[in-house]
């Protein structure tokens, strides 16, 4: 029986990444008063080796903070991220250095995430350079060329500069940078959101190819359910800092259970004029992050909320194997 709060894969085999009760708060000052914002609250999930886990949610749900915490760009207040038996937040400096080689990130903005003054080759080789992994210049060059080929670009790109490349090409470079040397886990933070549809398709295919070829485990963060569904094996839906539902991709798409997931699915504009979104699926505004509801964060907008929901936060519980939902009423 899986322990509540932990993901599916804990049952099957030892997960490669085990996130436990990750919580990040920060305080803001508005109109003279201090507010505490729960950017991430008690987020727990596991990632099996070779699995692609999609984390989906709208802006402010905390998915980016979760991703950044896993690569230690953000420090949570509570919680652990266990990789290779160690909690990455408690790791010694040299252990941390090794960890950084194994858990890597692909960033959202293909323009901003590459230093405009460094050549493509330098950017791709940067991780290797920092950790002194290349035996010689020739070795470095060879590995850079290889990696570029893996992402579908010619070796000649190594001497070019970011401004000469299109957005799709830059994003491929971002991916190349994340896979040299081969990592175990890749956190992809909205990697295709800034790309055109046709380029998006190419990059998604690339990620899927690389995942198969290299046996990568990927956490794919996005606001687009369609994209997440395309590439993920499992999906976790986040709302206001919490995970509200997790399931296998097919299940979540075909039979969403949590009211918010259902709203997300319904609100997604389908490219089929025969299926038009029913007016009034959602009448309330998304709440401000400064609100700290005691109960379920979605209660104010939920169509099946009761007074119990407003005062009691629902835990993430397992409904059936491979299905977890945080709702009192399902």
């Amino acid at each position: 029986m899986p322990l509540s709060g932990y993901g599916v894969a804990a049952v099957i085999e030892k997960p490669i990444l085990d996130v436990r009760e990750l919580s990040t708060d920060y305080t803001v000052r508005r109109a003279g008063k201090w507010f505490k914002v729960h950017a991430v609250k008690d987020v727990s999930f596991t990632l099996a080796k070779g699995e692609v886990l999609g984390i989906v949610g709208e802006s402010g749900c905390g998915k980016t903070t979760v991703g950044r915490s896993i690569v230690r760009l953000a420090k949570p207040h509570r919680g652990k991220v266990i990789f290779g038996g160690i909690d990455i937040f408690a790791a010694a400096p040299d252990e941390l250095r090794r960890l950084r080689l194994k858990i890597r990130m692909v960033f959202q903005d293909p323009f901003a995430s590459l230093n405009p003054r460094r050549s493509i080759g330098d950017s791709v080789a940067e991780t290797g350079d920092i950790h002194g992994l290349f035996e010689s210049r020739a070795d470095r060059w060879r590995q850079v060329e290889n990696t570029l080929k893996y992402v579908g670009l010619d070796g000649s790109f190594a001497t070019r500069f970011p401004h000469e490349l299109s957005g799709g090409q830059r994003q491929r470079i971002g991916i190349a940078r994340a896979i040299l040397p081969t990592p175990d886990v890749v956190i992809a933070d909205e990697p295709v959101s800034a790309l055109d549809i046709s380029v998006q398709a190419q990059v998604l295919n690339l990620l899927a190819d690389l995942q198969e070829m290299m046996g990568l485990s990927i956490v794919f963060i996005s606001h687009d359910l369609g994209v997440v569904g395309q590439i993920s094996d499992h999906v976790a839906v986040m709302y206001m800092g919490r995970i509200v539902e997790t399931a296998a991709t097919r299940d979540i798409i075909d039979r969403p259970i949590h009211p918010y997931t259902r709203t997300l699915m319904a609100a997604r504009p389908k490219p089929d004029p025969k299926i038009r979104i029913k007016a009034g699926i959602e009448t309330a505004e998304p709440p401000s992050q400064l609100d700290r509801p005691l109960g379920c964060p979605y209660a104010k907008r939920c169509s099946i909320a009761t007074s119990y929901c407003v005062t009691n936060a629902p835990p993430l519980r397992t409904l059936v194997p491979e299905r977890m939902v945080a709702c009192h009423n399902v």
């Binding site: 398709a201 369609g226 994209v227 395309q230 709203t263 609100a267 504009p269 004029p273």
Partner: protein
């Protein structure tokens, strides 16, 4: 009824120019929503800027074409006549409401400012009208929100304010340039249904620019697909999705992830999007087209008129008839 004819926007000198928008023509009827769809660099935003007369003095310039609203060419109206016309009867909203709104002015003031430019009415009447506009765009607690600053509102609310400001001059046509791209999907759904409502109740014509085919399917009546500065297909929306005629439209739709049946890999379009001036002879899509023939590369492409309203810029459009 807005009729845009043979619009071309170019860069370079008049002797040596490159078209970034090439001979674009379309019409929008009263109360109709036309979607202008394309990927980045196809010229859709540039087209709308040209129609609004917002092309900067330096940079891309209007080479040919006109945009006739009720018979008057609004592009070439001098600024003072545009105001008389109610700003040419065309209003525009943009993608990022935060940059379009003045951060240090209250919402009410900004709406009143828009009203004042077009109708010199007294203060109290203006304030009332501002409230009415906020109600029209379904902002709750309109009287309270009039005193709010932009940063106090959410993204969806700000976009509604933008729409209210656009409606202040009682336009006949609203040009919306990717207004929901920066919004969450649930908020997007609300804005789209609001636009549909306004269209039906006010008889507003909308030119809706987007790259999102899903949004197009939701909102618009007719679609114009752009590629490399040209309109490559126009059709009624149902027709476009059921049977896209132009190979580019077809290929674009095939790229979309389909939740109904996720395939292992997505179909892609070979090559890269054509840059302005890259393809000088023949069809701009030829290098990437699966149906390309010799004649596509050597000769310029004519418009093929398919059934009724359906047109495609292709020699071999998919008409559904067996060859």
């Amino acid at each position: 009824m807005l009729r845009v004819s043979d619009l071309s926007v170019s860069i370079g000198t008049s002797a040596d120019f490159v078209d970034i928008v090439s001979s674009v023509s379309f019409e929008i009827g009263k109360g109709e929503v036309l979607g202008l769809v394309g990927e980045s660099g196809c010229g859709k935003s540039m087209t709308s800027l040209a129609v609004m007369g917002l092309l900067a003095d330096s940079g891309p310039w209007l080479r040919t074409g006109c945009a006739k609203l009720e018979g008057f060419d609004v592009i070439r109206l001098p600024p003072y006549r545009r105001v008389e016309f109610g700003h040419g009867g065309i209003a525009m909203i943009f993608q990022e409401p935060m940059s379009s709104l003045n951060p240090v002015m209250r919402i009410g003031e900004q709406i009143e400012e828009a009203i004042w430019v077009h109708e010199k009415i007294a203060g109290a009447t203006r304030a009332r009208r501002a409230r009415e506009l906020l109600d029209m765009v379904r902002i709750p607690d309109a009287s309270v929100q009039l005193g709010a600053y932009p940063h106090q509102l959410s993204g969806g609310m700000r976009q509604r304010v933008m729409i209210a400001i656009a409606l202040a001059c009682k336009p006949q046509v609203l040009i919306a340039d990717e207004p929901t791209t920066a919004l969450d999907v649930t908020v997007q759904a609300q804005i789209l249904s609001l636009l549909r409502e306004l269209c039906d109740s006010l008889g507003l014509s909308i030119l809706f620019i987007t790259h999102d085919l899903g949004v197009v399917a939701q909102l618009v009546d007719r679609v114009a697909v752009m590629y490399a500065g040209r309109i490559v297909e126009t059709a009624v929306v149902a027709q476009l999705f059921e049977r896209p005629a132009h190979p580019y439209t077809e290929a674009l739709m095939a790229c979309l992830p389909d939740p109904a049946h996720y395939s292992r890999r997505l179909t892609t379009i070979a090559g890269h999007a054509a840059k302005p001036g890259e393809v000088t002879k023949g069809c701009a899509f030829a290098p990437r087209c699966r149906k390309v023939a010799e004649i596509c590369v050597t000769n310029s492409v004519p418009y093929e008129q398919l059934s009724g309203d359906h047109r495609a810029l292709c020699r071999f459009p998919d008409t559904g008839l067996q060859p």
